[in-house]
């Protein structure tokens, strides 16, 4: 048991160390690590702007009303290079957002994981190949 806990702690420590470098700015200054948020909504607009793409969605609330949310994502340059265009994420597409809520309480979140309703990752693609050979 003890070794199990040690292994768990080790695994957590390793995964923490293994987490790669951060984005353009400190996301924890904009979003709250204590306020994870899961949303489902339909895309109304995608701002293909640097330094971060913004995906606007309309979330259907349990009472039947809707609420606009803005989701922060990565640099469009990388997506464009991978072949994505402004047509790739059409208005009306239903997406799931697993992220963190804005620290000031606004209806904004970071798109830590973005998936389609069937679980497929949004923007599925591999890392760009290095031409280093």
């Amino acid at each position: 048991m003890r070794s199990g806990i040690a292994a768990l702690i080790g695994a957590v420590a390793c995964s923490a160390i293994a987490l790669p470098a951060t984005a353009h700015h400190s996301f924890s200054a904009e979003f709250d690590a204590n306020k994870p948020v899961k949303l489902q909504g339909t895309v109304t607009k995608v701002l293909w702007i640097n330094p971060h793409t913004w995906i606007h969605i309309l979330v259907m609330k349990p009472d039947g009303t809707t609420e606009p949310w803005e989701i922060e994502a990565g640099t469009p340059n990388t997506l464009f290079r991978l072949g994505f265009t402004r047509e790739s994420l059409k208005n009306g597409t239903l997406i799931n957002v697993d992220g963190y809520l804005a620290r000031d309480g606004s209806h904004r979140a970071n798109g830590r994981d973005l998936t389609l309703p069937d679980g497929r990752k949004l923007f599925m693609a591999g890392s760009g190949p290095a031409a280093d050979k």
Binding site: V12, H25, S28, A29, N77, R81, D104, D113, S127, A131
Partner: protein, 344 residues
């Protein structure tokens, strides 16, 4: 997204115009020169290595390039006495690095998880180590590690560590509390290492100048070639002041006059008096050997040198219009003000 074609096309037109004038001028000279001495001649024996020359005879570095690599700057402890890996070791190491870099690994509820920001598709670090399988980008000192810090260097590094650990961005009073990257001024002070994405560069040459456009964060370095002296020491610039010349086929550029007026504006907490010497040498159709040496006796106990490839990419370099789209700065400051109100 807007693509930065206008500016680069303008630069290309200048290049073409410059080249055309140069070719016309040389044509009259070359008419009397022995064949073997003609400058800019592209003729070569079938099968012989291609000479990469501009029409006016300078070594040709032009094109779009990426410096992405998985190879770490410093040699990891596990390879302390192993500067180069075998092919099998390299394959295994690449696999491990890709696994460790996997941003899909989650640590829910932590600052780190928030800061990792989004899943792997948004990152573009490449998937290979350098072709010569070195375990560090640093080639000098021979141990592949950054040399020791001076007392001043240690103090500056410690101050930056304290600022970073205080999460200053979460209670920032103004944009001045942020580093040059968050402020969309620079990705970081020169020289540039490989980072998470947009590791792309376009080199354009004219007679007398080399321009290097850095995709992130949209800066263009315009480097005059020749013997003119650096700017006076009182004039400081975000990208420093660069002067270049050719040594054989190698472009050698010395950069001085850095500025330390914002966090992150000088490479790795060095002083604004740091001297950077960079070298670019075309080693194939799709490869440039890039090396730099940084010297700053106020920071490091000795100069140190990095060697890393710039590999050709087939696509364009895109504009990274950082400042005009930097909604994040507004949001971070709003968050800090909201936190203040809540604390009252």
């Amino acid at each position: 997204m807007r693509i930065c074609r206008g500016r680069l096309q303008a630069a290309r037109l200048q290049t073409i115009a410059g080249a055309a004038i140069c070719v016309l001028a040389l044509a009259s000279i070359d008419a009397q020169a022995p064949v073997g001495e003609r400058r800019g001649a592209q003729a070569r024996v079938e099968g012989a290595p291609r000479a990469f020359k501009t029409p006016w005879g300078d070594p040709d570095l032009q094109g779009t390039w990426s410096n992405q690599t998985l190879t770490p700057l410093e040699r990891p402890a596990e390879f302390a006495n192993k500067p180069v890996l075998s092919e099998a070791e390299a394959a295994d190491y690449e696999k491990r690095l890709l696994r460790n870099n996997d941003a899909d690994v989650r640590a829910p509820g932590t600052r780190q998880d928030v800061n990792t920001a989004y899943n792997n598709v948004w990152w573009d670090r490449g998937n290979r180590i350098v072709a010569d399988r070195r375990t560090s980008l640093i080639i000098d000192p021979p141990d592949g590690r950054i040399p020791g810090l001076t007392a001043g260097g240690q103090a500056r590094a410690e101050r930056e560590r304290q600022i970073a650990s205080s999460n200053v961005e979460e209670h920032a009073a103004s944009w001045l509390d942020f580093d040059v990257y968050s402020r969309c001024i620079l990705r970081s002070g020169l020289p540039r290492l490989s980072t998470g994405y947009n590791n792309n560069y376009e080199i354009v040459q004219t007679p007398g100048y080399v321009a290097i456009f850095q995709e992130q964060i949209h800066e263009t370095r315009i480097i005059p070639l020749g013997t003119q002296p650096h700017l006076p020491g009182t004039i400081r610039q975000w990208l420093g002041d660069s002067r270049g010349h050719w040594e054989g086929d190698t472009l050698v550029v010395e950069t001085t006059n850095f500025t330390d007026q914002a966090r992150g504006s000088v490479f790795r907490n060095a002083t604004k008096n740091m001297v950077l010497v960079e070298k670019w040498r075309r080693v194939g159709d799709r490869a440039i050997d890039y090396q730099f040496t940084v010297s700053d006796p106020e920071t490091w106990t000795r100069p140190w040198t990095v060697k890393m490839p710039w590999n050709r990419i087939d696509g364009l370099v895109y504009e990274y219009a950082c400042h005009e789209g930097n909604l994040s700065m507004q949001h971070m400051l709003e968050a800090a003000r909201a936190a203040e109100k809540q604390a009252k």
